[in-house]
Assembly symmetry: C2
Homo-oligomer: 243 residues x 2
DNA sequence: CGATCTTTTGACCCTTGTCAAAAGTTGTGG
DNA sequence: CCACAACTTTTGACAAGGGTCAAAAGATCG
């Protein structure tokens, strides 16, 4: 009972660009199956090359790297529509691991068929490149955050970033988002200690910018958050491709 | 008097993958000219979308982002063979600026012809994606460095990183590399203050791991540096495409 | 040979990390 | 349905890594 691309629940979201019937058809054939996993399940590992690529259909997860001594850097929060495994498809190393934080459903693609995409579907190939370049753009932002911003600016940046992504995916309800991560995850994302992240969240609460309790992230003053984070104009991405 | 791709001085380096005659031919036609700039010249700006893409033929530069209040995050040091401007080619925003640190020569490509690459040169399209994915991989490493490592680990990581890139490009002479940047540039790369970067470099000198004076970076104990940085096994990239 | 830029040093202190423990939550099995 | 274990969040006390400020010492360049 795997989802048919024809009825893909993501594709109809307005942030995803339209696909031609031919493209949908290609994706139906490219998609080799569906993967359902429980929270905590590792999906990709930096140590082993996976023969698969995935698109997140539902649920959330984490992309991260670990240093030899165990320190962890979270690269990104995974949300529906995210395409993962590209690094493993083109290079020998994956470079990062992926783990599920909630129940997740993922579309599965075979790496062996990835080349055919370039040979027969130039538009889809372009879209893959678009996604890679956009991810690179995001990582540059993240680098600037961790490298240059103070703790409270980082947390403000992180929360507004998450909010805006989720909002475009219609995962928000009013000013609230179901946010299944732990404070440790955010700390590892922002290069802060758990304790300091906790205290910084308390400050945002006091300032009435945002609250995060009980897996619910509530954004009270988005403009205030973004101002504090000195976020740029926010790349109001009109559309993005969906793989 | 611009360099003919047939005689490209980079292509013969062993790190760059072989190109078929047809590919070289395509590149000759794709290349629309050459740009020569002096140190300090801005090449791309995060505020304006450039209609061009570039490959660094010679010289070094910096890719960086600036926050609204002026803080600067260096994303990467640019070396020969680096392909820049992809973000501007696929997205509306460039996302970062590029400036020359030495005299530089760059191959120029027109964004308008970029699409044709996907339509008629699947292998070259794949190579572009490969480069984007590899850059993403590197930025993940950088994120882990800035987010998780201590000052001395970061500097050790940064220097060994630079060394290995330059070494593969045959830019090193013995244990020495001509390295045209300022300490401020390294500080802005690693998310450290200039003063602390300076003091940390002094520690590496005392420990006899590396020295950097007079624009000369000298690596005394690469294994020691990498150990200190807890670098992974270093993605011994056999080959990479050259655009 | 000044004017300007970069590197180096020292003094001071603030932001953030570490340690420890309490309080609150979640899940499990009897 | 309770009791206990395991995990996560919250607080407080304290320490330190790294930032800021200031100024001297070197470079670089016209």
């Amino acid at each position: 009972m795997s989802t048919d691309c024809l009825n893909c629940p993501l594709r109809s979201l307005s942030i995803f660009s339209e696909m031609t019937a031919a493209e949908v058809d290609f994706m139906r054939q490219f998609k080799s199956g569906e993967l359902r996993v429980a929270p905590g399940t590792p999906i990709l590992s930096e140590t082993s090359r996976s023969p698969q690529l995935f698109t997140v259909l539902s649920g959330m997860g984490l992309r991260y790297k670990t240093l030899p001594d165990g320190r962890r850097q979270v690269i990104n929060f995974l949300m529906p529509g995210d395409f993962i495994g590209l690094q493993g498809a083109v290079a020998a190393e994956m470079g990062h691991s992926v783990v599920a934080s909630t129940d997740m459903t993922l579309c599965v693609f075979q790496r062996s068929e990835f080349l055919s995409l370039f040979q027969s579907e130039p538009q889809r190939a372009y879209d893959v490149t678009w996604l890679a370049a956009t991810e690179e753009h995001f990582l540059g932002e993240a680098l600037a955050s961790i490298g240059q911003r103070s703790a409270i600016e980082r947390v403000a940046w992180g929360l507004s970033q998450i909010w805006e992504r989720a909002n475009r995916l219609k995962l928000t309800e009013g000013d609230t988002l179901d946010f299944p991560f732990r404070q440790q995850d955010l700390a590892d994302t922002l290069g802060l200690s758990l304790v300091h992240t906790n205290k910084t969240l308390a400050k945002l609460r006091e300032r009435e910018l945002a609250t995060w309790t009980d897996r619910k992230l509530r954004i009270i003053d988005l403009a205030g958050l973004r101002g504090l984070a000195m976020a740029g104009k926010g790349a109001c991405l009109a559309e993005r491709p969906l793989m």
